[in-house]
Symmetry: C2
DNA sequence: ACAACAATTTGCGCTGGCGCAAAGACACCT
DNA sequence: AGGTGTCTTTGCGCCAGCGCAAATTGTTGT
């Protein structure tokens, strides 16, 4: 537990309710809802902390609550009967979990595992349903968020179906840089995602990812680290991502 | 309706409003809305017919209207810069197009092309927005539908990232059988999808699909036709779909 | 019927990327 | 420090599936 490199004992995690309400207030889920109501919304739920590696829900579980992440990072995965796992997306601060399932099948069809320690504002399913009736914006925002998730997955589906591995990994690194990249020096950003996870995001193997990163390191494009990568040359990655659209 | 090659001049397509309203009434989009209001909803839009090959909207277009398909079949595709096209999903009777884009980016990020001739009930964007405010169920239903689309794409993403081609094609055939399969004899169903389209759904090439189908024909599992396939042995396809989950 | 076209099949050769194994390189615990 | 477990790298061999070309077959228009 405890997280890898991140500040476990910072002042942030000491105070539960207060800070989380502020974060929730700026989340997309709350967008369009008057701030006056925010405390009411937050008050209807409770805060829970979770540590790295903890599973928030399993594939197949019934949806019993809705979470709004106010800290940390969660990976959403799917598993094949053969045990192979793919990473469908990452959810970060401000993202909601469970809303979709709540309004359709009632089941989680993915697994959510904490990637970095964090915390979430939690509503029991019935509570959230009732809130959604009082605040239609909640559903509207859920719809918009879901639309974005779908959009990104469509893009990645297209990639895995048509691009070769090098291009896919380059594209994924560029996306990760935008979402979870942490600046380290001028122009460089670090991404804390292992080789295996990168492979699970792009439909390849950790070996191939490792080989690619090694090759790119020689060209000064990235700097592989244990459990992560530093992206040095965004432009080159962009070039690689467009290379060789395999014939036909 | 109607279907594939069948009756273009039948009574169905002669009458516009009436029949479409009935179909719309049973669509998922209208679920939870009292039938009394259906005519009002339908009256706010108009009907349009389209023929095979016609494009309903292009990737990048602004979302100007919402369509509810009351006939025909539409393929939703994405294209890479290299011109390669993938089929993200098929939309059939009762499915709505454009809702997502309307409530998020305002743009279509996919292309919709008619697969079979058909027709749709159309609302101008402003009109639909206003209807959505009067009938919150519209948004709720859109949310649920979108959830299903996401769910299916997640499944296919997992497949293309982890399964080998034979398994992916088998799984896709089984899915198509459920959605657009037309029974031909005892236990057999025909699917009118070309090799190339099958390839674009599963992330492979038309050559490989052709080879697979030929091999399966020898085993009596399918019967390849020009522009389609007849599925004879569902069970064997199920077996194939689970075969060989490549090691590791 | 025949021509022109579109979809499909099939042989052949090649290679991108996988699978495996074994050897590093780190981080953490005691 | 040293031990232990995890993550990563790299060499090697191999094969699933692609790319191409040419033949074949089904469809449509005149």
């Amino acid at each position: 537990m405890s997280g890898g490199k991140c500040g476990g004992a910072g002042p942030v995690s000491s105070n539960t309710g207060r800070n989380d309400a502020e974060i929730a207030g700026t989340s997309r889920l709350f967008s369009g809802i008057l701030p006056d109501y925010h405390s009411r919304l937050c008050g209807a739920g409770h805060v829970r902390h979770f540590s790295r590696g903890e599973t928030l829900h399993f594939e197949g579980d019934a949806v019993r609550r809705v979470l709004l992440l106010t800290g940390g990072l969660v990976k959403i995965t799917g598993r094949s009967q053969g045990g192979r796992e793919v990473i469908l997306r990452l959810s970060g601060v401000g993202d909601a979990l469970g809303v979709v399932g709540l309004f359709s099948s009632g089941l989680h069809y993915t697994t959510a595992e904490a990637f970095q320690p964090g915390r979430a504002l939690i509503w029991e399913d019935r509570v959230f349903r009732s809130l959604a009736e009082q605040f239609p914006a909640l559903r509207l925002n859920a719809l918009a968020t879901l639309g974005d998730d779908l959009r990104e997955l469509e893009e990645r589906f297209r990639e895995v179906a048509t691009e070769r591995v090098a291009a896919r990994v380059a594209l994924q690194l560029l996306r990760l840089r935008q979402t979870i990249g942490r600046p380290v020096e001028a122009g460089a950003a670090s991404i804390e995602v292992s080789r295996e996870e990168l492979a699970q995001m792009t439909g390849t193997t950790l070996f191939t990812v490792s080989r690619l990163l090694s090759a790119w390191e020689d060209r000064g494009i990235v700097k592989p680290l244990r459990g992560g990568v530093v992206i040095c040359d965004v432009q080159s990655l962009g070039t690689i991502s467009q290379e060789d659209p395999p014939e036909r």
